[in-house]
Amino acid sequence: MPQSQVIAPLELIMNRTFNAPRERVFRAWTEAAELDRWFKPDPEARVTASVDLRVGGAYRIDMVQGDRNYGAFGTYREIRPPERLVFTWTALNCGDTTAEDTLVTVEFFDADGKTQVTLTHQHFPTSEVRDRHNSGWNACFERLKTIL
């Protein structure tokens, strides 16, 4: 593996087409009441979201499942309804949260009335290397593993 591949930022790209117009899907991603109802990796989880939908505004999503608390918070970087949403993402209750420095871009494409969502999650390993002594990361993934 060339060195650049190890050092390059990690990027995860996911695609999915949803059977709803993109205004509807965009709303599901940006309104607290909507997020409360679906933003949960497990149907049993209870979700409380708060959203300040403006550039620089903060969001926070708390998830409770049994005796486990987890979630994420961040700020909005770009809001372009109904086509593009960019926000920072830091996982909550995952050890040292400062170790997580990630960016999520959600793009909404019209596909004959349906919506293709492309989600890009970037993680910057320069900070990962810098913070490699923090075990927060692994703790986080252990926790994620138990809930997935």
């Binding site: 990690l10 059977n19 999650h121 993680h123 994620l144 997935l148």
Partner: protein
Amino acid sequence: MLTALMRREATVSELAAPHNISLPAVMKHLRVLEGAGLVSQRKIGRERHCRLTADAMKPASEWIVQYSQFWERQFDALDRYLAESQPETKEKIPCRNPKLSPRSN
């Protein structure tokens, strides 16, 4: 060099062997990798043994796997949610004639 280390721990001279560079140059390169937290070295007898720092490599691949599972689940959840809430919305997609405004809803 990192590829070689991904397979197993190696001595500095073993790492240098396949490359047409001097031992000091290899050692300098290793110090850079060590400084970046990717490689660690230890001395056994007269030889320096190098290995990849698992902590530096493991989170990267785990991060990808864990978050792709996480978002996959979130997409499933959104899919279910939209399917459930769709009939209540006024934005129901007309099947044949998308140009017509669905006033009858």
